[in-house]
């Protein structure tokens, strides 16, 4: 009897998930639930930040030293991208070439934006955004297969880059083909879209992500 039971147990094969679509479906479902949680957490944090800002205003009405502290905090918030900003600047549109024979030279890359953003900072930009994502101290711009991840948010072309600062100086730098030679070569040879306009008023949104400072004191 024991032998028969053992043989029976051994003959039962464990079932395996062999459907090739399973990992995709699981990932897709996970992404949906994580994105929903992300939205809830972001909204909760925004609402808490609003409550704190209102309380800070209240604190400003008390002693002079308290007012100075809140003003210093406000100034730093502005500096690190936690408030929306407006002012003169430039707008740049970077997009894939408008043709059907797209290859890696005719599409806009994360590296193009890294070069452009660096050039704008080096020429006096005070605030920059790409497709409504504010560029802050922790921002990285990375290519994820055929999309670009900025501040952990996936974005696709056309890329709308806005920079506040001396518009003439920034436009002059960005129009200098030697400074962005890789982009301009592809504009000429592959039809990559790269347009620059000077603006009297450009607006960039506040950073909507999270700064976590755990190790730096």
């Amino acid at each position: 009897m024991g032998v028969v039971v053992t043989a029976q147990v051994r003959s039962i094969k464990t079932t395996r998930a062999l459907n090739p679509l399973s990992p995709y479906a699981a990932l897709r479902d996970t992404r949906v639930s994580l994105a929903a949680e992300n939205k809830l957490l972001s909204d909760a944090n925004k609402s808490l930040s609003d409550e704190i800002s209102a309380s800070e205003k209240e604190l400003k009405q008390t002693e002079y030293s308290n007012r100075q502290k809140v003003e210093k905090s406000d100034e730093l918030k502005k500096q690190i991208g936690l408030t929306p900003l407006g002012g003169e600047g430039i707008m740049v549109t970077l997009a894939d070439a408008d043709n059907n024979l797209a290859d890696s030279n005719s599409i806009a890359h994360a590296a193009d934006m890294r070069d452009l953003i660096n050039l704008l900072w080096a020429n006096g930009a005070t605030a920059i955004s790409i497709n409504d994502q504010r560029i802050v101290a922790t921002t990285s711009i990375d290519c994820i297969i055929n999309t670009v991840m900025i501040n952990n948010v996936r974005t696709v072309p056309p890329f709308d880059i806005r920079a506040i600062g001396d518009r003439r100086r920034m436009a002059e730098a960005v129009k200098d083909e030697n400074k962005l030679s890789d982009i301009y070569d592809r504009v000429k040879n592959e039809g990559l879209v790269f347009q620059i306009t000077e603006q009297k008023k450009v607006e960039v949104p506040a950073y909507s992500g999270t700064f976590i400072v755990e190790y730096a004191k």
Binding site: S42, S55, E58, K69, S73, L76, I80, N118, N123, A216
Partner: protein, 202 residues
């Protein structure tokens, strides 16, 4: 009678053709969905996005706890104004680290690169360091913040990058096979305690 039969036959054929068309269309849509699901690029892209979302949500939860604590201090400000003022002071310290207006200390890693780099390599390296969770960075004694722009005048023969953040995560991210140091420039990474980074412009 023959005309009626012919009309019925025509109608039946039209209906059959429409049915076939709908089925073929449906099949194409399903095939497209399956192709997309089986495309390794789609799955890989989604996996990266899921990993980013997990990390982002962890940060958001940490931040929520900090904000709740701060909000509670403010709520009690009529009875305990000192706690509210301390919360503002704590924010000023944190914002100062991010803005680079103050000297910062902490553990992290030191990256040494003993050769020249192209400007694009330097830009990519700084981008990768930010992506690895750096909280503060200096390059050859210059504090790097959001608005730091590099020109060819900043290129040097040797680099010492001091990065404050989780040492293990930073080292793993920078040194991993196919990572930034592997891809664009060789460099040595060393975990360190007690790093001291200067403020901007020092």
């Amino acid at each position: 009678m023959t005309k009626v039969r012919a009309l019925s036959l025509t109608m039946a054929m039209i209906l059959f053709a429409v049915l076939i068309g709908v089925l073929v269309g449906h099949q194409i849509v399903i095939k497209k969905g399956i192709d997309q699901a089986l495309d390794p690029n789609t799955t890989e892209s989604m996996a990266i996005e899921v990993a980013q979302l997990i990390k982002d949500n962890q940060d958001l939860r940490k931040k929520r706890d900090i904000l709740i604590d701060e909000r509670d201090k403010f709520l009690n400000q009529s009875t305990n104004r000192r706690a509210a003022v301390e919360a503002v002071s704590s924010n000023i310290d944190e914002y100062g680290v991010i803005a680079g207006t103050s000297q910062v200390t902490g553990k992290g890693v030191v990256v040494t690169i003993s050769h020249e780099m192209a400007l694009t390599q330097l830009i990519d390296l700084v981008n990768a360091i930010r992506n690895s969770g750096a909280e503060a960075l200096s390059i050859n004694g210059r504090r790097i913040v959001a608005s730091s722009g590099f020109t060819s005048g900043d290129l040097q023969k040797n680099y010492r990058l001091e990065i404050i953040g989780n040492p293990r995560v930073l080292a793993d991210a920078l040194e991993r096979k196919g990572g930034i140091l592997d891809q664009i420039t060789n460099g040595q990474v060393e975990e360190k305690d007690g790093l001291v980074l200067p403020p901007v412009g020092a």
